[in-house]
């Protein structure tokens, strides 16, 4: 028990994980800036939305407020909307008709 507390302090692990996710957020951001085509940009926004869900879970755990985590579900449900819009715009002749 004591060993667990010493080796794996959960808060520290969470902090490290948050830093890793910040780093990957910056990488996606660079892809959005550089992305030669529009599809690259959209797919980076996608990846960021998934990251956001993870961020929400991590922060709810880190700050000890589990009841604010409900928006997570909506993030997951709407992670693909931008894909739909862009592909519909470029592939079909009209949107929503």
């Amino acid at each position: 028990m004591v060993l667990v507390e010493i080796v794996f302090n959960v808060t520290q692990v969470l902090e490290m994980v948050i830093f890793v996710y910040i780093a990957s957020m910056v990488m996606f951001f660079v892809r959005i800036l550089r992305g030669p085509t529009i599809f690259d940009r959209v797919i980076a926004v996608d990846a960021l939305s998934c990251d956001l869900a993870v961020f929400m879970a991590l922060i709810a755990l880190y700050t000890g407020n589990p009841h604010i985590a409900f928006p997570m579900i909506f993030i997951a449900l709407w992670a693909y909307v931008l894909d739909l819009y862009v592909s519909k715009y470029l592939e079909f002749r009209d949107i929503g008709e």
Binding site: H67, I68, F70, L84, K88, F92, I95, G96, E97
Partner: protein, 271 residues
């Protein structure tokens, strides 16, 4: 051509002046915010007004100031500052009327055509639609207990229906019984109901057994009128619950109406 150039030159000069003056004023603003005009941010204490609201949002020991809502934000939106929210819903209604007027031609029923996207997108969108609507209903019903409320739930439903419009087609929307005229009627009716609920306390004034205020929820100073505060043991928060449900319907229909109208308008297309 020279006229065009002159106009552009005039615009260019004006632009530079505008941009400079705006930048200077906004920098002044940043200075105000950071130089301690608002105290040290973030502060250690709440402002007193916020503290009174937070303490009174669910306070059985001070019945004249409470609204029996666990969620303080919902309590502010529909109880402490209810009139703001009613005006805000009217702004949404003005926008709906405006879109309907500006894009008048699309109001005439057009024959639904178009096509959906591939079958993978279609079926997963159906799943997403069901789940979102269930989640939004939970948001609306629990708006006074957990994060959520009328506008949040309504915009989630409206967003889902517009997603369905993109992924499936207009035909599908018509098939599940959603029509622009119906939406408009629902919207007007439910808005009238919101206003009626705001005026319900006046009935007790007319009957003459107690004084009552517009938008009153619980017992207040000088008035014994009260909406139900509990449903068995669950807190109900009186009008907050009712308003959340009604607001969900209005906002959902308004947003769907706006998106449908703009999407079915025949403008000039490229090519």
């Amino acid at each position: 051509m020279s006229v065009r150039n002159r106009i552009r030159m005039r615009y260019k000069k004006r632009d530079i002046v505008v941009a400079l003056s705006l930048a200077i004023s906004m920098l002044a603003l940043a200075m105000v915010l950071n130089m301690g005009g608002l105290g040290i941010l973030p502060p250690r204490t709440l402002r007193s007004l916020a503290r009174s609201i937070v303490i009174n949002t669910y306070n059985p020991w001070n019945t004249t100031l409470t609204s029996y809502s666990l969620n303080a934000v919902s309590a502010i939106i529909w109880d402490y500052r209810g009139i703001d929210t009613i005006f805000e819903t009217s702004v949404l209604m003005a926008a709906v009327t405006g879109v309907a007027i500006v894009l008048r031609e699309s109001h005439k029923g057009r024959k639904p055509g178009g096509q959906g996207m591939s079958i993978i997108v279609k079926s997963s969108t159906k799943i997403v639609m069901l789940l979102t609507i269930i989640g939004s209903l939970a948001l609306a019903v629990h708006g006074h207990l957990t994060p959520g409320g009328g506008f949040q739930a309504g915009s989630a439903i409206g967003a889902t229906l517009s997603l369905v419009l993109v992924a499936l087609s207009l035909q599908f929307i018509h098939r599940i019984g959603i029509d622009k005229d119906t939406l408009l009627k629902i919207r007007y009716t439910v808005l009238a109901m919101i206003l009626a609920v705001a005026l319900v306390p006046l009935i007790s004034l007319v009957l003459g057994y107690s004084y009552a205020y517009i938008l009153q929820n619980q017992v207040r100073e000088g008035s014994y009128f009260s909406m139900p505060s509990k449903f068995f043991t669950t807190p109900l928060a009186g009008t907050v619950f009712v308003f959340n449900i009604l607001e969900t319907i209005t906002v959902a229909s308004a947003i769907t109406y706006i998106v449908l109208t703009v999407a079915t308008y025949e403008g000039k297309t490229e090519e």
